[in-house]
């Protein structure tokens, strides 16, 4: 998952942040900066009413540290020195939010809260209307710029998490195990789509070459639906294992599956199929010239 990352200047262009905007913010800074500690306090007293507060800020030392970070955040905001360093500092804010699992809602509500407080202060100044409007617009632009960067980096981290998880899931969904020397078993559970079939095939082939397996049992008793597509995937897998020099036996064909396969007119060719795992193991051992004997 690639993030579309714009440089600082490109972002400024996107939000049409001009020198005048930055000047307006600079002019507003001395007025606002004094009030920020107060605003941070008021924000946290609002935050206390939310469910998230107990989860993230229950520890007083954490709370203190986060408040400090917030102060420096807003100082940077009013410096409005938008360069690559600024962008990367905003990015790391988003990444931290994503990592600790702080929801976007809370962050966005926070930005809104601060913005409205700034506007309040701004309106209290005895500046003329044009100037107030300009400053207001400038604040909005920079706040939106911040939000874009933070939300984007938040998304990036979350996407990375999801990709990693789906990879793990894929690995877990094809548990090829060695039953005996040269005999592998793969129980398939759930649905087989083309992506998963490909995965099963790749995984199986790798295991076959690793273990030098001569027989391979594919147990499909856990597969919910076998239609033409699934059957074709299974046929492909057996063909592939055969090309590796490994005989594939498909076990666990329920009566329902057997009926659908014949009714759909699927030609299974020379594929060995059995109703249960026991019969499949019997065939496999026969191929390996082995026999299970009762003591």
């Amino acid at each position: 998952m690639e993030v579309i990352s714009r440089t600082a200047t490109q972002l400024c262009d996107l939000y049409e942040i001009t020198k005048e905007d930055i000047e307006a913010v600079h002019e507003f800074k001395p007025v606002a900066i004094d009030k920020i500690p107060e605003m941070v306090d008021s924000w946290y007293s609002w935050l206390k009413t939310t469910a998230e507060f107990q989860e993230y800020f229950a520890d007083p030392s954490t709370l203190h540290r986060v408040q400090k970070l917030q102060l420096s955040f807003w100082e940077e905001f009013f410096d409005a020195n938008i360069n690559d360093q600024y962008v990367s500092s905003r990015k790391s804010v988003g990444e931290v939010h994503a990592r600790i699992g702080l929801s976007q809602e809370i962050y966005l509500a926070g930005v809104d809260h601060f913005l409205s407080l700034f506007i309040e202060i701004l309106l209290a100044q005895d500046w003329d209307n044009a100037k107030i409007n300009k400053t207001r617009r400038a604040l909005n632009k920079i706040a939106h710029l911040d939000m874009t960067i933070i939300v984007q980096s938040y998304e990036h981290v979350v996407n990375q998490k999801i990709t990693a998880q789906s990879k793990t899931l894929m690995a877990m969904s094809t548990p090829v195990t060695q039953l005996w020397d040269g005999l592998l078993l793969l129980p398939v559970v759930g649905l087989i789509d083309s992506r998963r079939a490909q995965d099963i095939m790749d995984n199986t082939l790798n295991h076959i070459s690793q273990h030098h397996a001569q027989s391979f049992i594919l147990d499909i008793s856990g597969v919910a639906v076998v239609d033409t597509a699934v059957a074709n995937h299974l046929i492909k897998i057996t063909k592939a294992t055969k090309l590796m020099g490994c005989e594939c036996i498909i076990s666990g064909l329920s009566p329902a599956v057997a009926q659908t396969i014949v009714e759909l007119g699927i030609d299974v060719g020379t594929i060995r199929t059995t109703a249960n795992l026991k019969a499949a193991i019997g065939i496999a051992f026969q191929k390996l010239n082995m026999k299970i004997v009762k003591q």
Partner: protein, 123 residues
Amino acid sequence: MSNWVKSGIPIQLHSQCVIASFQLDLQKDLLKLFQQELLDEIVKHNHIKGIIFDLSGLDIIDLMDFEHLRSIINMIKLTGYDTVISGLRPTVVSSLIMMDADIDNLLSAISLDEAVVILDTKK
């Protein structure tokens, strides 16, 4: 002139099996040369069990070359011998399957040992 040009694919005799080990990337001209060399070699011997193609050195086989290999196997069949393909890599197999290669009626083995065993049981 043509006597000097060689395919560069070694053809050896081991346990009465003719083993051809492919190590270079397959090409049409190369396969043609190889085909000639192999068939000449086979008819020289009287007591062989069969032929083994060791493909473990190949990282990739395209559809054309695979078809050519198949046709060589068919030619060998006409001389009365079976051919076993051995040591195909997982990636090669999965790409062949993806390209819908016709892989029916082929004998294949996971290793040379296994290939010899298959030829033993065939005879």
